[in-house]
């Protein structure tokens, strides 16, 4: 472990640590553009110059490995002078379109210029002109004039995705980033290029010019797009609601987690939040009337649902939970089912098309909480439930989140099952073909509208936090289920998601010892082995028995 001093502060770092990271460890920022901890060292921007004792001239910190006894100074007059020079070089051919550049507020060219710039422009000649607003694939747009040739995007495509679509073409100050001829930017992670571009050269086709970043607020969250559970920041636009075409969620950005997603997230997850402010969002409970569904108040809906739950024999009730629900919701549901003695429970519904998967982040399971649902013990045979419904053995079916018509199962038996039960209840965020058949539709808060936790495929329990208020009257499922439980005579279980998580940690051994506090921002991995559903259920409530085995992928008609 080399020990060195940086600006007089002693620091001990792991062997192989470069000086930018070593300095970071003692709170010293060394300005840089081309260096990114997730990519190889390029040493191109030449901005991260530092003085090392006895070295004849400043040297780049990115390509210098910390060594025992090294004495590093990051603010000497000649380092400051070198930085000023580099900033001048960086700006020689950079267009002065800051007022209209959509990177405004997040541009390290601007930030470093203010901190380290030369301020007196000496370049009076015509700048080199390059292509502007060139679309690169579905999500990225390139302004070659703003590019400082740091090559982060090129290295990302070479090293992270291994797809190598980008290169730097031409030479000298005519160099420009571009796609290799005839090759589209077609990897699954292109949005990351916008994140890692330190200036305004690569911007997001979805986000650019919609809202200025200084109007955005941020909440730490987890991507619900697949079982990976990438750590993200949700950026929301409260302050300029007229911007962004009324969308409250402006964008999702990956949040570093060394154990889960490092600096990255996939495009499907990043751009998969449209449903939050989509026209199909349900913002009030609905009751089926003749000719359609009409809004109803929560009081009425909850009373009616409670009533039908209480008045129906447990054996005539089926519940299809969802691996899109949070641990808190699933546990609240488990409690309720245990109290009522309902044993026809399942959550696994095979999608119409199998999910894609890769070796980087993307998981075939497009649900964020399959592992949580298993661990909480909601694992049962959905096919059997639908078959029971179709056979007239169910009087009540409660479906969460799923559109069963978007499953691998044929429509006809699904429709037969859903229309054979006298009372179909559907809970979820957005209307779909399944909700359209429901007698009661209970609007759920989207994940960005509430707190909760998901358990990823590796058994990592991770928190997501409220970024925006629930739309209309939508409520988290734990709240809806909790209120029903109360009406059934249970004492108040919890008025916040955190209360439910505490109860979960107390009741389900796999979650024992976990709290929102000790999950922190990065989450914690629990012993991933699922306990048999029955034993979990036994601890939760007497008398309820979940059927063994996983849902089959077979059609309910078989």
């Amino acid at each position: 472990m080399p020990r060195l001093t940086i600006n007089g502060q002693p620091v001990e770092v792991a062997p192989g640590t470069n000086l930018i990271e070593a300095a970071r460890a003692v709170g010293v920022d060394i300005p840089h553009y081309c260096y990114h901890p997730g990519l190889s060292i390029a040493g191109q921007c030449r901005l991260c110059m530092v003085d090392i004792d006895k070295a004849p001239r400043p040297t780049v910190a990115c390509n210098t490995v910390a060594a025992e006894g090294m004495v590093v100074m990051t603010e000497t007059p000649r380092v400051l002078e070198a930085r000023r020079s580099m900033m001048e070089f960086h700006l020689i051919n950079h267009p002065l379109d800051c007022p209209v550049c959509d990177q405004a507020g997040e541009c390290w060219l601007q930030i470093y210029y203010m901190k380290h710039g030369l301020y007196e422009p000496r370049m009076v000649d015509e700048k080199v002109h390059k292509p502007k607003a060139v679309p690169l694939g579905e999500h990225v747009v390139l302004d070659a004039e703003r590019c400082i040739l740091c090559s982060r995007c090129v290295r990302f495509c070479d090293e992270v995705t291994g797809t190598g679509e980008l290169g730097i073409f031409h030479r000298g100050d005519h160099s420009e980033v571009g796609l290799f001829p005839g090759r589209p930017l077609a990897n699954q992670y292109t949005g990351n290029l916008n994140d890692i571009c330190p200036v305004g050269a690569l911007t997001d086709r979805d986000f650019r010019f919609r809202v200025r970043v200084w109007y955005l607020d941020s909440a730490k969250s987890i991507c619900p797009g697949c079982a990976r559970g990438c750590n993200i920041d949700v950026h929301v636009n409260h302050r300029r609601p007229h911007h962004n075409e009324g969308r409250r969620v402006a964008r999702l950005k990956p949040r570093f987690n060394a154990e889960v997603n490092r600096w990255w997230m996939c495009d499907a997850g990043r751009y998969g939040f449209e449903f939050v402010d989509d026209a199909s969002r349900l913002d009030t409970p609905l009751r089926r009337q003749q000719g359609g569904q009409e809004p109803a108040g929560w009081d009425e809906a909850l009373a009616a649902v409670t009533d039908v739950l209480a008045s129906t024999a447990p054996d005539e009730i089926g519940v299809i939970a969802s691996p899109r629900m949070a641990n808190e919701d699933l546990f609240a549901l488990r409690r309720l089912l245990g109290r009522l003695g309902i044993h026809r429970v399942g959550f696994a519904v095979p999608p119409a098309a199998p999910g894609d998967e890769d070796a980087l982040l993307i998981r075939a399971d497009k649900n964020p909480n399959t592992r949580g649902a298993e661990l909480i013990g909601l694992d049962g045979d959905v096919v059997a439930i639908l078959k029971a419904a179709r056979d007239g053995r169910l009087r009540l079916l409660w479906v969460f989140a799923h559109d069963l018509f978007a499953s691998a199962w044929p429509d006809a038996p699904v429709r037969a099952a859903l229309t054979s039960v006298p009372t179909l209840i559907w809970s979820g965020t957005n209307a779909n073909a399944t909700s359209a058949l429901a007698y009661w539709v209970l609007p759920a808060a989207a994940w960005v509208e509430r707190d909760g936790t998901f358990t990823n495929f590796e058994g990592r329990v991770q928190r997501f936090r409220t970024a925006v208020a629930p739309l209309g009257e939508a409520r988290p499922e734990w709240d809806v289920i909790g209120r029903i439980s109360e009406m059934l005579g249970e004492p108040v279980q919890g008025t916040r998601a955190e209360h439910w998580f505490r109860a979960l940690a107390a009741a389900v051994p796999a979650f024992a010892g976990l709290t929102y506090q000790n999950l922190g921002d990065a989450g914690r991995t629990i012993r991933a082995r699922a306990l048999p559903a029955q034993s979990v259920l036994g601890e939760v409530s007497e008398g309820a028995v979940a059927p063994p085995g996983r849902a089959s992928d077979g059609a309910p008609s078989e």
Partner: protein, 407 residues
């Protein structure tokens, strides 16, 4: 005065490039000798010879070889830098065209010294005839069993970029990547071509090896100065009566080279300035030519021996125009990888062009000097440092000419 010819002695023979002629002239006698020597003994002999790299950097050749990690398991590569691209330099072209077997024999010796079994020869793409001649010689050497037994040679043609003559840029290009120089450390001798320890030597440097093996390092050292042995080839061009490639000891003076070998100054007959070592070398004024042409002699004179491309200007030459032409070259050939070089070569070119066109500003000259000094020593490779040689020296030594255009 010029002494014995080593490298150029066969240039006059029409069939010098053939194996038969090379053998007739005593070729391939050093290689059997070298093969019987321990590799370390060859390196020692080369260290003794004071042979220094003749591609431009002037680094001691034997010392460079000794940087290969001892006992390295796995391949070691020898890479021959035949990407001669410095304006005013054209001596390697002669060797490739007229004495290709001397290079092959030199490569065999160097490969044995560094325990390499594979050599890559990176030839400038524009050098079509030299490539044909050299590739033909390689075929002959394979047929005659000089190659193929313990040493294989790959001849690779560049696509035409000056930066591919920089040793790590050359390696990147050889690896099939963009010809961008690599960050150091690691140095090529530790991690070079395809990740293996690699020695990059210039054509002319290697062509000296058969003579050193045959006649000894001390003999070679005695031909030159105290710190640099042997002779070298000088590409003399510009305003001289006999522009050509000349061979002479590195102890020859620039004045002797211009007046005794190249026949003196043509044009108006009055010498104005000389570039002594390829376009990157700082320019010398007419009264500064009594310097020896060895690496240290020219370094002490504030310039460099470089590739020994001597460009002679008479008093009709416009120094600002000469600088503009060079600035255009450096702006065009900067690889664009690192910021100071990429941005300032273009900027400086635009300033010089403005000055030459009569649109210069008083502050331009100091800006060029300041930008040159700020950028020097901050880049991945020595390209910009090379460009700074002319930027600074042309303006400092001929400032009045520039100011006359601005006024």
């Amino acid at each position: 005065m010029t002494g014995e010819k080593l490298l150029s002695r066969r240039f006059g023979r029409a069939d010098a490039h053939t194996l038969a002629a090379y053998r007739e002239d005593g070729g391939y006698t050093a290689w059997p000798k070298a093969r019987s020597l321990d590799p370390a003994a060859i390196t020692e002999e080369v260290k003794k010879s004071n042979l220094r790299g003749l591609g431009g950097a002037g680094f001691p050749t034997g010392v460079k070889w000794s940087f290969i990690p001892k006992g390295h398991a796995g391949p070691v590569y020898l890479v021959v830098n035949a990407d001669e691209g410095e304006p005013g330099t054209f001596k390697d072209r002669y060797l490739l065209e007229r004495d290709p077997h001397a290079l092959i024999e030199g490569m065999l010796i160097a490969a044995r010294a560094v325990r390499s079994e594979k050599a890559f020869v990176y030839i400038r793409g524009e050098y079509v005839e030299p490539w044909r001649r050299f590739a033909g010689a390689v075929r002959e050497a394979y047929e005659a069993d000089y190659l193929g037994h313990g040493i294989d040679v790959v001849v690779h043609r560049g696509a035409g970029a000056y930066i591919c003559g920089e040793e790590t840029g050359l390696i990147s290009s050889l690896e099939g990547k963009k010809g961008w120089p690599k960050l150091k450390p690691p140095f090529p001798a530790i991690k070079g071509a395809f990740g293996a320890p690699t020695i990059v030597n210039n054509v002319e440097t290697l062509c000296h090896l058969p003579h050193i093996v045959n006649r000894g390092g001390e003999w070679f050292a005695g031909l030159g100065t105290k710190t640099q042995g042997g002779t070298r080839l000088y590409s003399v061009s510009g305003r001289v009566k006999r522009p050509a490639v000349y061979e002479a000891s590195v102890a020859i003076t620039l004045r002797q080279l211009i007046y005794d070998l190249a026949g003196g100054v043509t044009g108006n007959g009055r010498l104005k300035a000389v570039v002594p070592g390829g376009s990157s070398a700082a320019i010398l004024k007419a009264d500064e030519i009594d310097v020896t042409m060895d690496v240290d002699g020219l370094r002490n004179a504030g310039t460099m021996a470089g590739s020994a491309g001597v460009i002679v200007m008479d008093e009709t030459a416009s120094i600002p125009e000469a600088l503009m032409v060079l600035a255009r070259f450096y702006a065009h050939e900067s690889c664009g990888q690192c910021t100071p070089c990429r941005e300032s070569t273009g900027w400086i070119y635009r300033m010089t062009e403005r000055i030459v066109e009569g649109r210069g500003r008083k502050e331009d000259l100091d800006t060029i000097l300041d930008v040159s000094r700020r950028g020097a020593g901050t880049t991945i490779c020595a390209f910009f440092d090379g460009a700074v040689g002319p930027y600074i020296s042309y303006i400092e030594k001929f400032r009045d000419e520039f100011e006359a255009l601005i006024a």
